[in-house]
């Protein structure tokens, strides 16, 4: 610990181009293959491998197939509960969304630092979550206007609104509708980032306390370490919950587009 145990809790979110791809560009835009892109790819590959285990299509499923089927059935139930029978056609999108975010969150929590590589949680970047949020929101808009045309605007006037209230309610509902992609993307980004920062800060307490001598180690490091263990468990829960919330809200918004009110 020659460098005074300096831990920067934000350093883990730094994006670095890998493999000398710094100057890749497409139409003038930089598309360097970064550590963020690498972990997107890893999440996708792990997800693909996970799904391969469910493709045996046996009548009596094995454990792996049951895992894959329960995940699929979980999303299918959520869609049919929130959207109804039309929900089936959104299964590919919502399932990809849920599983991709879930795997990204969980893989980002892996303690790979122990073997010298550092996991990167790309869901802690609003540039990544924002793309997913805007995709979900675009689907809502496209489905809404395709199915209902301009009648889609009646979404902003709830049933039974008194006539003089309609302009005001319309504006309020419109703003709350337009905020949806931001809340969707920011919620995931903030939740993931907060958890990772908290873990990093606590770990800096552990190291700093240990460096300051036995007394501070007992006073600071050990309680911080115990808290870290508990927060790691909480973060695993948050990883699942945030993926679920993202998929659930997407399906609720799609339900609005499908059925208005």
């Amino acid at each position: 610990m020659a460098t005074e145990a300096k831990v920067d809790p934000m350093h883990q979110f730094t994006i670095e181009p890998l493999f000398g791809t710094d100057h890749w560009a497409l139409g003038g835009f930089n598309i360097a293959f970064t550590n963020s892109a690498l972990w997107m790819l890893i999440s996708a590959v792990v997800l693909y491998a996970f799904m391969l285990g469910g493709m045996k299509r046996e009548l009596v499923p094995g454990r792996w197939q049951v895992m894959v089927e329960s995940m699929t059935g979980f999303i299918e139930n959520m869609l049919s509960a929130n959207i109804g029978k039309e929900g089936r056609k959104y299964l590919p999108y919502v399932f990809s969304l849920f599983m991709f975010i879930l795997f990204a969150n969980l893989l980002g929590l892996l303690p790979l630092g122990l073997v010298g590589v550092h996991p990167f949680t790309f869901t802690s970047h609003f540039t990544a979550t924002g793309v997913l949020a805007i995709l979900s929101f675009s689907i809502v808009l496209v489905v809404g206007f395709y199915k209902h045309g301009l009648h889609f605007f009646s979404l902003f006037v709830p049933h039974g609104t008194p006539l003089p209230m309609i302009p005001l309610i319309f504006v309020i509902e419109l703003v709350s509708f337009l905020v949806r992609p931001f809340s969707l993307g920011l919620r995931l980004f903030v939740a993931m980032m907060a958890g990772h920062v908290l873990l990093e800060v606590l770990s800096s307490f552990v190291i700093g306390g240990a460096n300051a001598g036995a007394f501070f180690m007992g006073l600071v490091s050990i309680p911080s370490f115990i808290l870290m263990v508990a927060i790691c468990a909480l973060e695993i829960l948050v990883a699942g919950i945030q993926a679920y919330v993202f998929a659930l809200l997407t399906s609720l918004y799609i339900n609005d587009a499908e059925h208005l009110h």
Binding site: P17, A32, L91, S96
Partner: protein
């Protein structure tokens, strides 16, 4: 906060790779695999439902056959009992007839015998009267030396005998 400080330098790469990789996930996993998994689950549910329906149908069939068998058995038992009852009634009737005819025969014999007994008694009584009249006439002749006409003697005896 790298998310903001690196925003200008990295946003295009983030968006590009997110679209590429999530697009690949969507087409390979979402469209390629998830519906097949769902199909497998539905196939299994349908198979289970079909098997359950088949089992239910077989149970119904067995129940129907059991009912039919029970009905046939009950019918046959009824027929057998009717036969037994008919045989019993016939036997009872035959017995009764034979008893009646035997009783009548016996009665006839008894009546005949009674008639003969009465006739014999009548005959015996007449004999006794004659013998008594003769004896009375004889006694009168021997003791008093009187000659009593046979008719008078008979009348006297009859008087005495019948009070």
């Amino acid at each position: 906060m790298p998310q903001i400080s690196q925003l200008a330098a990295t946003y295009s790469s983030q968006i590009f790779w997110m679209l590429v990789i999530f697009g690949a996930v969507f087409f390979l996993v979402g469209r390629g695999m998830a519906p097949k998994v769902l199909e497998t689950m539905e196939g299994r549910d349908q198979k289970i439902a079909a098997d359950l329906a088949a089992a239910e149908a077989a149970r119904h069939e067995a129940q129907a056959q059991d009912d039919a068998w029970k009905a046939a058995a009950a019918k046959q038992r009824g027929e057998a009992q009717a036969l037994i009852a008919a045989a019993k009634a016939e036997a009872a009737k035959a017995t009764e007839g034979r008893l009646a005819s035997a009783g009548a025969e016996a009665e006839a014999k008894v009546a005949d015998a009674e008639a003969r007994i009465a006739a014999a008694r009548q005959g015996a009584l007449a004999e006794i009267e004659t013998v008594a009249a003769d004896a009375a006439a004889e006694i009168a002749a021997r003791v008093a030396g009187l000659t009593v006409a046979a008719d008078a003697a008979r009348a006297a005896v009859k008087d005495v005998l019948h009070g």
